[in-house]
């Protein structure tokens, strides 16, 4: 019996001996069985919608930019403060968020708490708009930020807990497309929500704005419910499969960061070097297409958003592909090289930017599917939250710094040098990934194994354990 239990926790997929868990004669349907694919799919649905609320509400200000500026009498700089209040604290906070998940709350409670932060933050934000108090809105964004980024860390950790060694890359792809879906839906419906509310209230104004933001807060509530359900399912799975909730007796310390293995640091460098060449570029892209390629503003907006539009459907597909083939490092190299080519096309040619931007969209999705899951292979499970938190933190730091640097370069030296600068950033990521390849090769690591080799290794480990 004890043997059976051990095997269960190690070999989640084995289908024999299942009845032993709940006693003989009470078989579970597949959908309720934590070790069955069908049940994992149910969990995946909740996992994806866990982040939906925060992604939806994050871009509320952008979707209602004109309304926010008009109703509250702001200028663009003040408006941008709403994003700054979200971003800057997260340079530090989501590192601590990840640490809290590992050390204090545990993944389940941590997720619920961060979802609560997201909810409360959005409600404060909406209240601030309702009362026409801009400072209260900033407070709301700050509270929302505390929850939002750490929730992403929790989401990653959940994904690894449930899907490592199974469909992990696919899950990361799906989460990315969910994030994109959240912001796209937001961009497209918030405007009409606002005008409907304005009709109901009688006139557009800060009360209408507050009310529509309050409606947006429903999505956060929905995500909170997902967090609760997920916590329940995780607890249940733990009881049935007798797996411990990340408590291996080892205690995480903040100083663990300095002992992170070399491959993890290389992954961090790739992450920063790569993403700083994507997001700040998209932020500045619209005017670039107008100036360099003579696009109309509408065309420029369309070509600029193609990256996100492509990534929504492409990332699950690419994630599935990475799952089937393994060899994550090679996929990351491909993604980085493709991005480099796309940026060089934009910098040095007048070729239609649709080509370069589509390539950018594909490679961006591929990188997200292949890079983020690698973290799970190089750090022990009890440090996962800390590692993901740290990764998110330095990504935020990099983005904040590079966004400022990019603005300064553009103002003084123009778009060519800006593009060359982005190319240089991608080149740094390329150096890191090439180094990662060799380091992993020499250490005989798991990162670049094919899917078949990984499965075989897992089977061997399992039989040894028996």
């Amino acid at each position: 019996m004890a043997d059976y239990d051990e095997r269960q926790s190690l070999l989640g997929d084995e289908s024999d001996g299942r009845e032993a868990d709940r006693g003989p004669g009470r078989p579970m349907p597949a959908i309720c069985d934590p070790s069955h694919l069908l049940h994992r799919v149910v969990v995946l649905v909740f996992m994806c919608f866990l982040g939906f609320g925060s992604y939806f509400c994050y871009d509320n200000p952008a979707a209602l930019q004109t309304q926010v500026i008009r109703d509250l009498n702001l200028n663009t700089k003040e408006f941008m403060q709403l994003y700054a209040w979200y971003s800057w604290p997260n340079v530090v906070l989501c590192f601590f968020g990840g640490f809290m998940i590992d050390r204090v709350f545990g993944i389940r409670l941590g997720t619920v708490i961060f979802s609560l932060f997201v909810c409360v933050g959005q409600v404060i934000f909406a209240t601030g708009a309702w009362w026409n108090k801009f400072w209260l809105m900033e407070v709301g964004r700050f509270v929302f930020g505390i929850g939002g980024e750490s929730l992403a860390v929790a989401q990653n950790t959940y994904a690894v807990n449930w899907f490592k060694g199974k469909e992990l890359n696919l899950v990361f792809g799906l989460q990315l497309s969910m994030a994109r879906l959240g912001s796209t839906v937001n961009m497209n419906i918030m405007g009409s929500v606002y005008s409907k509310v304005a009709d109901l209230v009688g006139s557009p104004g800060h009360s209408a704005l507050g009310a529509s933001l309050m409606i947006a807060a429903m999505t956060c509530l929905f995500s909170l419910i997902c967090a609760l359900v997920l916590g329940f399912l995780d607890k249940r799975a733990e009881k049935i499969l007798h797996k411990e909730e990340g408590k291996t007796g080892e205690v995480v310390k903040l100083t663990d960061v300095k002992d992170f293995p070399l491959p993890l640091w290389l992954i961090f460098i790739i992450c920063v070097g790569y993403y700083v060449a994507i997001f700040p570029f998209i932020g500045l892209g619209q005017v670039f297409f107008i100036e360099k390629f003579n696009f109309s503003p509408a065309q420029a907006r369309a070509v600029n958003s193609i990256v996100y539009i492509i990534s929504a459907p492409a990332s699950p597909v690419l994630g599935f592909m990475v799952d089937k083939t393994g060899r994550n490092v090679i996929w990351v190299i491909i993604a980085v090289v493709t991005t480099l080519c796309a940026h060089m096309m934009l910098a040095f040619t007048f070729w239609n930017p649709w080509i370069a931007m589509s390539l950018l969209g594909l490679s961006y999705s591929l990188l997200a599917c292949a890079l983020w899951p690698m973290v799970a292979f190089v750090v022990p499970e009890h440090q996962l939250g800390t590692a993901y938190g740290f990764m998110q933190s330095i990504q935020n730091l990099g983005l904040a710094l590079i966004a400022m640097a990019a603005g300064a370069i553009l103002d003084s030296r123009g778009y060519l040098l800006l593009e060359v600068f982005f190319c240089a950033c991608v080149c740094i990521a390329l150096m890191a990934v090439v180094t990662l390849y060799f380091v992993d090769y020499l250490r005989g690591g798991d990162l670049n194994r094919s899917a078949a080799a990984r499965a075989k290794l897992q089977k061997e480990a399992a039989s040894e354990a028996e």
Partner: protein, 393 residues
Amino acid sequence: MAAVETERIGRVCAAICLLSVCSLCTGHTRDRQVLIELNPGSPSPPPGDLLHARAVGDNDTLHFLFCSQGAPTLLLVHTNTSFSTVKVNWAQFNDRNHSGGLTVEPESSVLYSTAVVFNRLLEYDDINDTADPTSDLFPPYDLQDFRWSRLNLSGLTALLCGNTAASSNGSLCLQLSLFETEGRGQHWPRLLHTANSSQLRVWLDGVLPRATRSRFLLELQSVGGASPLNRVEVHRSIDDEFTPSIFKVSQWISALNDSSDVLGFVQWKPVAYRQADPALEDAAPCRHSEPRPQSGEAVAAVSGLIRAFYKEPEATGLNVSFGLAGEPFYNSTKFLSWTLLVGVGSPPVDSFSPLVIGMMAVGLGTPMILLLLGGICVCTRKRAVATAYEPIN
């Protein structure tokens, strides 16, 4: 790692810069020697100043003549000896009735001449913000009627300012810069220049617009003896390092029968700036109209220099309009500055700066080197492992 990288890039760039500076030093320090005279041989100050700059090369001379008698005019004369001179018959020159007041001697040495006349400043009320200058034109300012200041010389630059006789508010200024070597302007648009060209910066400062939604146009005329500048080419360029966000360069050239030999040019970037010390958002895009043949006699009547030098002037003209639909109006800053280059031969062509080349070389080179080193490392290790196993067999 990033810090190391930028430092390395910096070092390589410094090395490249040093190399290029050295090549300049060893090549030639000066392409031309420029000598400036004001009103050469004039017994008393004439009604409008005449600047003569003699740019002497190894075996040719460029004469730059800049004059404010009538509309401001810049005349370039290219001669094939380094001994050619300019003779001014001041009585005839100031009279402005007959040609021959200004001659270049020996006359047979003249290879080519071209002139640019700043003829009129036009203003229109852009009520619907369409930036379409055909509507609501105010009566134009004729620059020949402006009260022009004396020429203010400093080094190789000359400044000329003027305002309308009616009001003393604000001014239209022209700054001429001459060059002994190749280089680049200090201020945007930072045009690349050679010793075969001169740069003119034209700006409007504080001139009161006649409507709150006013936009301006500048009418330019090019005059030549045989072949005036006859077509405008717009080249696209991927390089906006020196003129941020501007990816085009326009050149008004004179070419004979579609041959590729360009005799003379006026070159500009399609951008004006709304501030004296501009930031990127102060850039106002410009457009130009197609050049049209003009009456040579009319231009000669407007400009003293054209009248004096050309016997049978041929002229073409075009308008440059500042600002596009949706852009801020002149009223927002009451300042507008535009720069153009006038020269003989082919217009200078921009190339990538050492900074761009250096960054790309380091950025692409380092991963390659890493790949190579890693490959070698792995190979040797494999071989070492293989040899270590041999004794067992």
